[in-house]
């Protein structure tokens, strides 16, 4: 195989994989592949991206060169999306060589996201602000902040085990509801509804919903439905996690206000 094509295939496979792993739409991954290839001079390119994998085929002088990439993990890291987008634009404008691009892509592929402590702290603040947005006072803000921190810590520690998405969501919902209900019951005041609501907002599948719609509109029916199902499952899991705790509370003799 021609070494240039090999390099090109590596670059497009990595860009598509990073895009899909970090929350990009499938049509974006396909377009990035096509743009990069046509910038280097190969216009006969077929790229098929679905939520769980990418297939790229370049036809050059009658020979087919194919590469397949599997997407095993799906997280959200918007910064990586932007970097890959920039790399693809730089290549198609001729400002970036394939070697440099490959080096950059390999670097950001392993680059981590925020530390767990930072994520927990900022996630807690976000949950607190959501609780306040729904009309909560200082008490609700503080408890929602704590439950947000706990939920982020719990989901992060289970996320390391590569558990299934729905399991993480159930845990997140449970931790939020547990802290909200037990602390309001102990304190004797505060509205646990607002706290739970604020706490679960960051856990809800906003990205899956957005991408489901964007993919479906472009005709990527498989990815659209996959994302849609993901959104429904995650939302139902968070709700189920909250439900489990409320049921336990009621059956233990607690009275919901």
């Amino acid at each position: 195989m021609d070494s240039e094509i090999e390099k090109l295939l590596n670059v497009v496979r990595l860009s598509a994989q990073i895009t899909l792993t970090n929350g990009g739409e499938t049509y974006r991954a396909e377009e990035i592949c096509k743009h990069i290839c046509s910038a280097v001079g190969y216009d006969n390119v077929e790229a098929l991206a679905i939520t769980t994998g990418i297939f790229i085929n370049i036809t050059d002088e009658g020979h087919d060169h194919t590469v397949i990439g599997r997407i095993k993990k799906r997280t959200i890291n918007l910064e990586k999306l932007e970097i890959v987008n920039n790399i693809s634009r730089d290549i198609s404008k001729g400002r970036l060589e394939l070697d440099d691009a490959l080096e950059k892509l390999e670097k950001i592929e392993v680059q981590g996201s925020l530390s767990v402590a930072k994520t927990a702290a900022i996630g807690g603040l976000s949950a607190g602000c959501f609780a306040a947005m729904f009309g909560g006072g200082p008490v609700e803000f503080v408890i929602a902040l704590l439950s947000g921190v706990a939920a982020q810590l719990a989901t992060a520690s289970f996320g390391k085990l590569d558990s299934y998405q729905f399991f993480i969501s159930i845990i997140g919902g449970m931790v939020t509801a547990l802290i909200a209900i037990s602390s309001t019951a102990l304190l004797g005041f505060g509205d646990y509804n607002l706290i739970i609501l604020g706490g679960i907002m960051p856990l809800l599948p906003g990205l899956a919903m957005t991408n489901a719609i964007r993919d479906t509109i472009r005709g990527d029916l498989i990815s659209g439905t996959a994302r849609g199902v993901e959104a429904v499952i995650v939302a139902a899991s968070v709700a189920a996690g909250v439900g489990i705790i409320i049921t336990c509370f009621i059956s233990l003799g607690g009275v919901l206000l």
């Binding site: 990009g24 994520t119 947005m133 739970i196 960051p202 906003g206 957005t210 964007r214």
Partner: protein
Amino acid sequence: MIKQTVFCFLATLFFSIIMNSPKRAILWSSLIAAAGYIIYLESSAVYGELFGYFLGTLIIASFGELCARKIKMPATIFIFPGIVPLVPGLGLYRMMLAFVQNDIGRALEVGVSTIFIAGVMAISMAVINLIVLKIPVKR
């Protein structure tokens, strides 16, 4: 009203930080979220909840696409954090609460309205997306 919008802005700001949003995009997506939320609040008070969600999402999606063109970043980076305050968490939670209290009738009622809200938001985003697809992109 102002308090809700300010907290919506802050909540989205923190949320986009945990989602590793690029630094240049954080402020814009939070502003978009606040704008969408205030439109949702105002219009749902006048025209009803569903229309409020429609208009709010319309604002978020169109400004998100606009920012994506201006700042040259994928539109998802702006639309996804912006849409989060509008995602019908309240309906979902109320449905669950009614279910565990064995009030199936109310649970279904709230559940259906939540599905309607999600559907309306989807249509709204789809409308903007279709319009945007007609405008050629300068790469």
